[in-house]
């Protein structure tokens, strides 16, 4: 059933993201063309402000992709589970946690895809600019990096990816828990939800810094020489500790959301 929920989740959100991604890539291509004409000293071919506006639109679209990822994460959860559509969602023969799972996974998917599309659009803009040659030469230094640090280099990369995913997931779950808490608090749902979100942020920071200060885990850099395998290891360890920290909060948000949706749900 999780697969089916995800299918409809992707259908519902894809109709927003896919056109947006198309637009971003199209404007990247358009801007690349304008740059080409301007470089050919044919700037009278197109007035400068046209290419300026086109560039501005592109930048705004990329920014919008990230804002919309956030907005859709919140709106889709709120409308599909806590609005009128909730009457259908919660009478489907699926477990409550499957709803959270499907929405969380699809939201993560769009965050990753938005990043990929943004990078891809930069790559389109950079066609013929010499960036590719630089990347090619940069590739050699990447190879040097891994030959120098070996497994600890890879470990470091993996830890950073794990940290990014854990941070993104716990971020999504903190939005969910805020929406649910806001929705349960009678009047001023949005305000209460926003307050919860801020509150969660403050609590997470306080817990994190008191943990960091007392345990001293993040002090490891001071003791090891720069540019060493030992430092790579220290960096990986710190990333993983942070990831565990995010995951712990994420798990707490997840179960709190699940418990409230199962036991405290009260659709209007």
């Amino acid at each position: 059933m999780l697969g089916r929920l995800m299918k409809y989740e992707i259908k519902a959100t894809g109709r927003i993201f896919l056109p947006l991604y198309g637009l971003i890539l199209a404007f990247a291509g358009l801007n690349r063309l304008f740059m080409y004409f301007n470089l050919q000293k044919k700037s009278d071919f197109l007035p400068n402000f046209v290419s300026g506006i086109s560039m501005l639109v592109y930048i705004l679209l990329v920014a919008a992709a990230f804002v919309i990822t956030l907005v859709v994460t919140v709106q889709r959860f709120r409308k599909n589970l806590l609005g009128d559509e909730g009457y259908l969602s919660f009478t489907l023969p699926v477990a409550v946690h499957s709803h959270i799972d499907s929405k969380m996974i699809v939201s993560l998917m769009w965050s990753v895809l938005s990043t990929v599309v943004a990078l891809l659009s930069v790559a389109i803009l950079a066609i013929g600019s010499g960036l590719y040659r630089e990347i090619a030469s940069g590739w050699d230094s990447v190879r040097d990096f891994f030959s120098q640090y070996g497994a600890s280099g890879w470990g470091c990369v993996v830890s950073i990816v794990v940290l990014l995913l854990a941070a993104q997931l716990s971020g999504i779950l903190s939005l969910y828990v805020s929406v649910v808490v806001g929705n349960l608090s009678g009047r001023h749902k949005r305000l209460a939800g926003f307050g919860t979100f801020l509150g969660i942020g403050v609590i997470a920071q306080v817990v994190f810094f008191s943990f960091a200060n007392t345990s001293g885990v993040f002090q490891s850099y001071h003791d090891v020489p720069l540019d060493s395998v030992a430092q790579m290891r220290a960096l990986s360890t710190d990333c993983l500790i942070l990831a565990v920290f995010c995951a712990a909060f994420g798990v707490a948000f997840y179960f709190l959301t699940d418990w409230m949706l199962s036991r405290k749900l009260n659709l209007e």
Binding site: M1, R4, K7, Y8, A12, R15, D84, E85, G86, Y87, L88, F90, T91, L92, P93, V94, A95, S262, R263, K264, L265, N266, L267
Partner: protein, 232 residues
């Protein structure tokens, strides 16, 4: 197991009010029961608990012999009072959605009913009038071959011709293995298709009888009795 719904001292409290007060009730299989009561009497609270949308404060409820959950949701077809359809989908997509999630959904039946009510399955729900949306929703709910149908105000917003069609649909979908719980305030229209009625007021059941028992004993229609019991 002979009862589709069984409640024992079912109680639901909200901050500052008691929505259901120690309700005990049994809805047998093969019967169409009307749940009647004024606004705010607890009808919708009871219906939401049956469908697992609310958790009772105290007491017990069994739907098809089980506590509300994934298993009971497979067996219950629920028509809520409000429109729960995704605006951006077409009727076709909605039918596929129901087919994907409910194994008892009969697509052929749904398309047949759509045709009889002149609804184009390619139309998007966004472009439909409120009445048409209600019809689509009812078609989706009635196209399931469920063990229990729970209909909250099924004929509230539709025109009299569609109302007749809906009542006809309910009768022709009747099955000895399924039960139906219908909440409504349009009693005269549904009275003839009911086996029995349950009157509910301020969270308590005040009367539970068959339609013909009421007519025999009181020499008046259920509608007339309702007006008397709930006189303002």
């Amino acid at each position: 197991m002979a009862n589709a719904i069984e409640c024992f001292n079912l109680t639901k409290r909200f901050p500052g009010c008691v929505a259901l007060n120690e309700v005990s009730l049994a809805i047998p299989k093969g019967q169409i029961i009307g749940l009647l009561g004024p606004n705010g009497s607890g009808k919708t609270t009871l219906i939401k608990i049956v469908n697992g949308l609310l958790t009772p404060t105290a007491g017990e409820i069994l739907v098809e012999g089980k506590h509300p959950g994934v298993e009971t949701k497979k067996a219950v077809s629920y028509l809520p009072e409000r429109s729960y359809l995704n605006d951006w989908m077409s009727v076709n997509e909605m039918i596929n959605f129901f087919g994907d999630f409910y194994s008892d959904f009969n697509k052929a039946k749904a398309y047949d009913m759509l045709q009889r009510l002149n609804i184009n399955p390619k139309d998007r729900l966004k472009t439909m009038s409120k009445g048409t949306k209600e019809k689509v929703q009812l078609i989706l709910v009635m196209s399931r071959e469920a063990e229990l149908y729970v209909l909250d105000e099924p004929i509230g917003g539709v025109d009299p011709a569609a109302r007749d069609y809906i009542l006809d649909t309910i009768i022709s979908n009747y099955s000895e293995n399924a039960a139906m719980l219908i909440s409504t305030h349009l009693i005269t229209d549904v009275e003839k298709i009911l086996d029995g009625v349950v009157f509910i007021d301020r969270g308590s059941i005040v009367l539970s009888a068959t339609v013909d028992e009421i007519r025999e004993k009181e020499n008046k229609s259920v509608d007339a009795l309702f007006r008397e019991v709930f006189k303002c």
